[in-house]
Symmetry: C2
Subunit: 219 residues, 2 copies
DNA sequence: CATAATCTGTTGTAATTACAACGGGGATGA
DNA sequence: TCATCCCCGTTGTAATTACAACAGATTATG
């Protein structure tokens, strides 16, 4: 397991811990790493939701299948990312989604009960681990709330204004750089790229914003 | 503060605790209740995000204002509900939203740092409190993820199928009752009521589902 | 029971959006 | 330098959705 220590250092779950702390903690938690072939299931929808996963190598797709069998990708989890933690930490009894290796991957699974319920005095960094878990989930929560805020607006222009406003707020300025190209931005706000591009230019012509590539300025 | 003990028993944050535990814990946390007139701010966007709120009486609107000053309501928090906890628990430094009393209200504010960072051996139920906080945020996380899944689908029919599928999964059956009327369902999936109603009937005529009022059956 | 109020389905029209196709940069690499 | 690829804007058309208005059904209320 120690071969993956560089990965753990990138993982928000272990923020503020050094390698020896992490190493001893993983033993304490009974964490086990397993390998998965491409397209094999790490867990399936309907399995008891007891553990969270940490991607040590490769990547994992979180997928959902609807009543009629249509499959869609919810998220992709890259190396160093965690998944399933919200279901395991909530009162959910089973996973409502499946996790599939998008390529040959190594995944570490940690029983969430061991993190939460164990006496927190057992090892020195256990409380830090819980805090990290809480911070990580809370951070995702904030991002999800914002995303929902942007997507639920009616009309392409309203979506853009909501998204750009939040970026300006985060930057503390009306002038900022976004982390998306046009196609990615369109996917994010759930709109068509060309329609969005069109709307952006209309807004520019009306004088409510300026942009050049990924740099935007609200007026 | 003890006059609000009945409210605390409904609050997920204090699940599994009895009234005397809650009472002593609130002292330990240094929680303070304050009154707010209708339309007065509990906190404003830009304030340092240190504490979470618990609505003891009345209700609170979480509102967001965009770059051009357009205000929109993100959520309404009723009596017994908590708000601001995700921002305070995440690494956010300031609130990106404001909280406004929707009527004359009483709100208890708890410093999140006191919950998370204090030595967990300080009082017996502190670890339970942290677990409740984690469970609550994780639960919201699951709901947000699902909602996003439903809203981002393109087309009214696809949204309906995604939502109804998730309800069927939750019920463990293709036959279930939804907690929305038509208007609420339309708001939830971010669509027009009449267009949605139309689409539902088309789907019924095509034989992929049946419904009567709030009872649905997928085929 | 009668009346009002609300919810739901239906229709037609206007507005918006998705889709496809294309051309102009700008970056990349041989 | 030239060729290639990718990103972005633009346009026209087809499809979808929003909006408004209305009628039947259901529920609430006195």
């Amino acid at each position: 397991m120690d071969e993956y220590l560089p990965v753990f250092r990138e993982c928000t779950l272990f923020a503020g811990m050094n390698e020896s702390d992490i190493s001893s903690m993983l033993k304490c938690l009974g964490a086990r790493a397993s390998s998965f072939e491409k397209n094999s299931f790490v867990f399936m929808a309907g399995d008891p939701a007891a553990s969270m996963g940490v991607v040590l190598s490769g990547g994992v797709h979180v997928v959902q299948e609807d009543f009629w069998g249509n499959r869609s990708i919810v998220t992709h989890v890259p190396r160093g990312g965690i998944f399933g933690e919200a279901f395991a930490c909530a009162e959910e009894t089973v996973y409502p989604v499946s996790a599939v290796a998008s390529e040959r991957s190594t995944v570490m699974r940690v029983d969430c009960g061991r993190i939460i319920k164990t006496c927190t005095t057992a090892c020195g960094f256990h409380s830090r681990l819980i805090r990290n878990l809480l911070t990580t989930i809370a951070g995702k929560n904030v991002m999800l709330t914002q995303h929902l805020e942007h997507v639920t607006r009616h009309g392409t222009r309203e979506k853009l204004m909501a998204y750009l406003s939040s970026q300006a707020r985060a930057a503390g300025s009306g002038s900022f750089v976004i982390p998306f190209n046009r196609q990615e931005l369109a996917d994010y706000i759930s709109a068509d790229r060309s329609a969005m591009s069109n709307e952006l230019c209309k807004m520019r012509d009306e004088g409510i914003l300026r942009f050049r590539k990924n740099h935007f300025e609200l007026l």
